[in-house]
Amino acid sequence: MPKRTIEDHLEIEDLLREEYFDLLPVVRRLALQLETEIRSLTPSILHDLRPYEQLVVKSRVKECESALNRLLGPKEGRTFDPDRPGGYSLLQLPDLAGVRVLVFPNSRLIQVGETLRIRFADWIPKPVKYGSGSAQAPKYIGCCEEVSRAIRGEYQVVPMLLGLFWEVEHAAVYKFRPAANSKHMRTHRTAVEDSLISFEMGMEIFVRDKIGVYPENPSKN
């Protein structure tokens, strides 16, 4: 089949959708590979969790329209430029496949992060800042060469409360430009994040001061 040329904006979007569905089987494999590897690296932590602690591994494949929007970025007018040198490709995106590891409480975040870092040592760190302080959730971007050298994926280790909040917040604010640009909404978001951080810290301090060393997980015996 002769290669189509990009002549107008609508064709750019159509060609990117075609590219998305061409890449999709490999992106799915990459998400599965990442999730499987991360699960296989964390059972010792999983089995050691106290009754109030949690560790959940979730993978996702970026949806088609979300990928197109991400490629557009925060450009005024949200329009692909037909005259852009080099054109566009979804391979420019770092997160077509992603895994989010949700942990509670925060002390487990460091443990999980360090465990995964050994396997993914060559992945590039892109930590995500949140709240009004200096809190950061580790995020890494890279390739699984067994699956593809062209398609990159990411994994994130996130405090669970924050990750669950982001699932709602991303659609409502992050991906909705008027809300994302609003100082008021940014203030509300930061307030929620600070509050979630405070809850997690409160829980850790409570356990440390009131319970002390938690008894060995009874299910291990």
Binding site: H9, G77, D83, R84
Partner: protein, 77 residues
């Protein structure tokens, strides 16, 4: 009065696909970034600015390329 109210009263509608305030009758479009960054007085002045009505006028912080203008003109009608 809020900027969004000023635009609504001047028959501008929000285009969620492009994040633009658009008035097809007078063929003007304001990017949300422009509206956020500029003072109300400038928004009002731009709304009242007369045009020849032949082509679209885009009020952006950074002028869109000719290619983007072409596409937006086609999409906005």
């Amino acid at each position: 009065m809020k900027k969004s109210e000023i635009l609504r009263r001047a028959d501008y509608q929000y285009n969620f696909d492009r994040d633009l305030w658009v008035n097809p009758k007078v063929k003007k479009a304001f990017s949300i970034e422009f509206v956020d960054d500029k003072p109300k007085t400038e928004i009002v002045r731009r709304i009242e600015e007369s045009t020849n009505g032949n082509g679209w006028i885009f009020y952006f912080n950074m002028d869109p390329s000719d290619g983007v203008k072409r596409v937006l003109e086609e999409v906005l009608g």
